[in-house]
C-alpha cells in the first residue's frame, strides 16, 4: 500500500500546472471563478488552446489524436484544471461521442467526425432523455423508420445541454417497437440543420439557459448516419454512460469549492466575528472536508482498479452518489455563508453597490443549479438501483 503519486505522475502534475499558468487566459478563469455564463466563443477558444497542446480529447487513444493518458493522469489533469479555474471541457463530442465512434463507428464515420470534433468544426449535443423517458431511458419513443436510404425521425428529446450552440446531435431512437424495449433502439447522428428540427430553450430554476427541448417532425437522416448495427443502440448507450461517469465524483471541483467556502467564511462576519470562527459553521465545513478526504481516496482506489482492469466497474455509481452529494453540500455552505447577502437575483442589482464579496454574487444561483447533479447522468436513485443489482446482488 502506497498512497503517493509516482515521480512521473508528480512531474506530469507540474507540467499540467505550468501549462495552465502559462496558457489559460485570465478572462476565462474569471468567468469560472464568479460562476457567470461562459460564451460559446470562449468555450471554443478554450478547446483550441488544449487542442494545440494535444490535451483536448483526454480519453481518446493516440491513433485518434488523444494524449494516451492513464486514468490517473486524467485525474491529475482534472484536478489541476479545477485548481486553475479552467472551464469544463464540453463533454458531448469529446468525452461521449468520440469514444463511441472509436469503438462502434465505421472507418468513414471515424475519419469524418473525429477530426471535426477536435477542431471544433462540429459542436455535438445529446438526444437521450424524452419527456416520458428519464430514469427509464429504455422506454424512449422517438421513432426512426427506414425509408429507402434514409431514416425518418419523429419525436421529442429533452434536457439537451448546450444544444443552442450545437450543429450536430447524437440520438437514441426506436427502430423496432415490437421487441423488448432495450432491443429496439438505435444510435444515430443527426445534422441539426436538417428540415423538421426545432430547438426550444428550457429556462432553469435559477434563471439560466443551458438545456433545451428538441422536436423532430419527419426528419430525413441518411441511413449511413447510423452508428453500429440497427437495434444495437442500447449497447452503445451503456458504453457511453460509463464514459459519462468517469470523473463523475467531481473531486477536483469539490476541492476547489472547499477552498472557496473556507476563504468566504474568513471574510464574512457573523455575530461580530468571521464566520469561520462560528463553531456551528466551522463544524459544517469540517464535516464536508472529512467526507471529501475520504472521497479523494475512494476515487483513487476506483481509478486504480479501472487502470488494472481496463474499465471502470459498477462501483463507480458510488462515486456518482457521494461525489454529487459532497459537491451540493459545498454549494449549500457557500449560499448559507452569505446570509441575507445571497438575496439579489443575479443581474438585478444595478449600480455600484454589492452585497456578496467578489465572485460570490452567484452563489445562491449556483446552489440551485447544482441540484441537477444528483438528477442527471442517471439519477442517484438509479445509481442505487444499479448498486443493488450489481454489488449487493439483491
Amino acid at each position: 500500500m502506497d498512497l503517493s503519486f509516482s515521480a512521473e505522475e508528480q512531474a506530469f502534475r507540474q507540467e499540467v500546472r505550468d501549462f495552465f499558468a502559462e496558457n489559460l487566459p485570465s478572462e476565462m478563469s474569471d468567468v469560472v471563478r464568479s460562476g457567470s455564463e461562459m460564451t460559446k466563443e470562449m468555450m471554443d477558444r478554450y478547446h483550441a488552446i488544449l487542442n494545440a497542446k494535444g490535451w483536448l480529447a483526454t480519453t481518446w487513444a493516440p491513433e485518434f489524436g488523444g494524449p494516451g493518458w492513464s486514468p490517473v493522469q486524467r485525474h491529475i489533469f482534472e484536478e489541476e484544471a479545477c485548481r486553475a479555474y479552467a472551464p469544463r471541457i464540453v463533454p458531448f463530442g469529446l468525452a461521449m461521442l468520440g469514444p463511441v465512434l472509436q469503438q462502434f463507428g465505421s472507418k468513414e464515420q471515424q475519419d469524418h467526425y473525429l477530426p471535426r470534433i477536435l477542431s471544433g468544426e462540429d459542436w455535438w449535443c445529446q438526444g437521450y432523455s424524452e419527456p416520458g423517458a428519464g430514469s427509464d431511458l429504455a422506454s424512449l419513443k422517438t421513432r426512426a423508420v427506414r425509408d429507402g436510404d434514409d431514416y425518418v425521425i419523429n419525436g421529442q428529446k429533452t434536457w439537451t445541454t448546450l444544444g443552442q450552440h450545437a450543429n450536430m446531435i447524437f440520438c437514441l431512437v426506436r427502430t423496432d417497437p415490437d421487441v423488448k424495449q432495450q432491443q429496439g433502439i438505435s444510435f444515430i447522428l443527426v445534422d441539426l440543420d436538417t428540415p423538421g428540427i426545432e430547438m426550444r430553450p428550457i429556462r432553469l430554476i435559477e434563471g439560466g439557459h443551458e438545456v433545451n427541448e428538441v422536436f423532430f417532425t419527419d426528419v430525413r437522416v441518411p441511413a449511413a448516419n447510423l452508428v453500429g448495427e440497427e437495434n444495437m443502440g442500447w449497447t452503445i448507450a451503456k458504453f457511453l454512460l460509463t464514459h459519462e461517469r468517469t470523473n463523475i465524483a467531481g473531486v477536483g471541483f469539490s476541492m476547489q469549492s472547499l477552498e472557496e467556502v473556507k476563504a468566504l467564511a474568513r471574510v464574512v462576519k457573523r455575530n461580530g466575528k468571521p464566520l469561520s470562527e462560528d463553531p456551528l459553521f466551522a463544524a459544517r465545513i469540517a464535516q464536508v472536508e472529512i467526507d471529501l478526504e475520504a472521497m479523494k481516496i475512494t476515487n483513487l482506489r476506483m481509478l486504480y482498479k479501472a487502470q488494472k482492469q481496463g474499465a471502470p466497474g459498477p462501483e463507480t455509481s458510488i462515486l456518482k452518489i457521494k461525489g454529487t452529494v459532497i459537491g451540493q453540500e459545498l454549494k449549500d455552505l457557500a449560499r448559507r455563508a452569505l446570509g441575507p447577502s445571497a438575496a439579489p437575483f443575479p443581474g438585478s442589482l444595478e449600480g455600484n453597490l454589492s452585497l456578496a464579496p467578489a465572485d460570490h454574487a452567484n452563489d445562491a444561483a449556483r446552489y440551485f443549479n447544482n441540484r441537477k447533479t444528483s438528477i442527471f447522468g442517471g439519477s442517484n436513485e438509479i445509481q442505487r438501483n444499479i448498486l443493488t443489482k450489481t454489488m449487493l446482488e439483491l
Binding site: G134, D278, P344, L349, I375
Partner: protein, 353 residues
C-alpha cells in the same frame, strides 16, 4: 385545548386564500415577482381591503388582530400563493409603530408603504451589532450607515431604521426620498433594497428600542415560519401528486417504496414545522417569545431545506425548470433561511438562552 382557528380567523384565511389563488395564478405571480418594482399596486390595495394588514395590528392601534395567530393566518395564505407583496415590511413596521404608540392608519389602509432597516452587511442578523449611527441635529437627528436587504424597501415610502443613538439602540423614521435606495429582485422573487444613509434627516420614533426591535423580529419570524408552512404544504401536495401520476418502468414512481418513505419523511417534518410555528405564535409578545421564535426558525430552516431538496429530487428534471411552479416554492423555502436569522444563528440563540 383548542387547535382550531377562531371563526374570524378562519374567514380571513379563507378569503385571503381564495383571493390570492384568483389574483396570483402562477404566471401572473412570476411577472410581479421578477419585474420591477416587484409589487402590484392594485393587488396591494385589494389585500388591504381584505384585511391583510389590519389583521397584523391590535385594536388599540386601529387593526383587528396583532396576535401571533393573526399573523400566521395572513402569512400562511401568502406562502400558499408565493405572494411577493411586501407585507413583511408592513408587519415589522406595524410592530414598531404600535410600540411607539404612533398612528399607523395609513400603513394598515395600504396608502403608505413602510419598510424596516434592521440588518447590515457585517451584522446581518444580530441586532446588538448594528452600527448605523444617529446624532442630534437641531430639533431632529441625522443618520449615517447602510441597511442591507431591506425587504420591501424598493417601494417603501417610509423607512423605519434601527440605529445606535449614543449607547442605545433606537428607531428612526426616514422619508424614502431622503435616502439612497437601490432596489432589486430577490432570488426567489419579490423585492428588497440597499438603503444608504449619509447625513439623512430622521425623526426619533423610539429612543430605547432594543425590546421593541426584538419583538418586531419575533413577529417577523412567526410570519416567515407561517409562510414556509404554507409553501411546504403546497409543495408536498405537488410532489405527492407527481409521484402518483409520473410513470417510469411501467408504473407510477410513487409505487416505489424508496420514494414513498421519503415522501412520508417530508410529511412528518411539515407536521413538526407546523407545531413549532403554532408554539412560537402563541408565545409572541410574552416573556419567552424570543426563545421560541429561535426554535421555530431553526426547525423551519432544516425542514424547509429537506422539503425543497427532496421535492426537486423526487420530481427529477422537471422541478429544475423555471416553468414548473414547484421550483419556485423550493426557492422560497431555501431563501427563507436567509431572512431574520438562519438555522445556525437561531440554534446558537437556543444554546445561549
Amino acid at each position: 385545548m383548542d387547535f382550531d382557528l377562531t371563526e374570524d380567523r378562519q374567514m380571513l384565511s379563507d378569503s385571503l386564500t381564495r383571493y390570492l389563488k384568483d389574483k396570483y395564478p402562477f404566471e401572473a405571480r412570476n411577472k410581479v415577482a421578477y419585474a420591477a418594482p416587484y409589487h402590484a399596486p392594485d393587488r396591494w390595495a385589494e389585500l388591504s381591503e381584505l384585511g391583510a394588514m389590519f389583521a397584523l395590528a391590535p385594536e388599540e392601534a386601529g387593526g383587528f388582530g396583532g396576535s401571533g395567530f393573526d399573523i400566521s393566518v395572513v402569512f400562511e395564505a401568502m406562502g400558499r400563493a408565493l405572494c411577493p407583496e411586501p407585507v413583511l415590511g408592513a408587519l415589522l413596521a406595524s410592530r414598531l409603530l404600535s410600540a411607539a404608540g404612533a398612528d399607523q392608519e395609513a400603513l394598515l389602509a395600504g396608502t403608505t408603504k413602510y419598510a424596516v432597516g434592521l440588518g447590515e452587511l457585517e451584522a446581518p442578523y444580530a441586532l446588538d451589532l448594528i452600527e448605523t449611527q444617529a446624532r442630534p441635529s437641531g430639533d431632529a437627528y441625522v443618520l449615517n450607515g447602510r441597511k442591507s436587504a431591506v425587504y420591501g424597501g424598493q417601494v417603501a415610502d417610509i423607512f423605519l431604521i434601527a440605529a445606535k443613538l449614543e449607547d442605545k439602540l433606537a428607531v428612526f423614521e426616514v422619508s424614502a426620498d431622503k435616502a439612497s435606495v437601490t432596489g432589486y429582485a430577490m432570488m426567489d422573487g419579490g423585492g428588497a433594497a440597499e438603503v444608504v444613509l449619509e447625513d439623512v434627516p430622521a425623526k426619533l420614533l423610539i429612543g430605547d428600542a432594543a425590546s421593541a426591535l426584538q419583538d418586531a423580529v419575533n413577529a417577523g419570524i412567526v410570519a416567515l415560519c407561517s409562510e414556509a408552512v404554507g409553501a411546504m404544504d403546497v409543495l408536498q401536495t405537488m410532489t405527492v401528486e407527481y409521484l402518483g401520476t409520473r410513470k417510469q418502468f411501467g408504473r407510477p414512481i410513487g409505487s416505489f417504496q424508496a420514494l414513498q418513505h421519503r415522501a412520508v419523511d417530508m410529511l412528518t417534518e411539515i407536521e413538526q414545522a407546523r407545531s413549532i410555528t403554532i408554539k412560537a405564535a402563541s408565545e409572541l409578545g410574552g416573556p419567552d417569545a424570543t426563545r421560541f421564535a429561535s426554535m421555530a426558525k431553526n426547525l423551519i430552516g432544516r425542514a424547509g431545506r429537506l422539503i425543497a431538496e427532496e421535492s426537486i429530487q423526487m420530481h427529477g428534471g422537471i422541478a429544475m425548470t423555471w416553468e414548473y411552479p414547484g421550483s419556485h416554492y423550493a426557492k422560497r423555502l431555501i431563501m427563507i433561511d436567509h431572512q431574520l436569522g438562519d438555522t445556525d444563528f437561531h440554534l446558537s440563540r437556543v444554546i445561549a438562552a
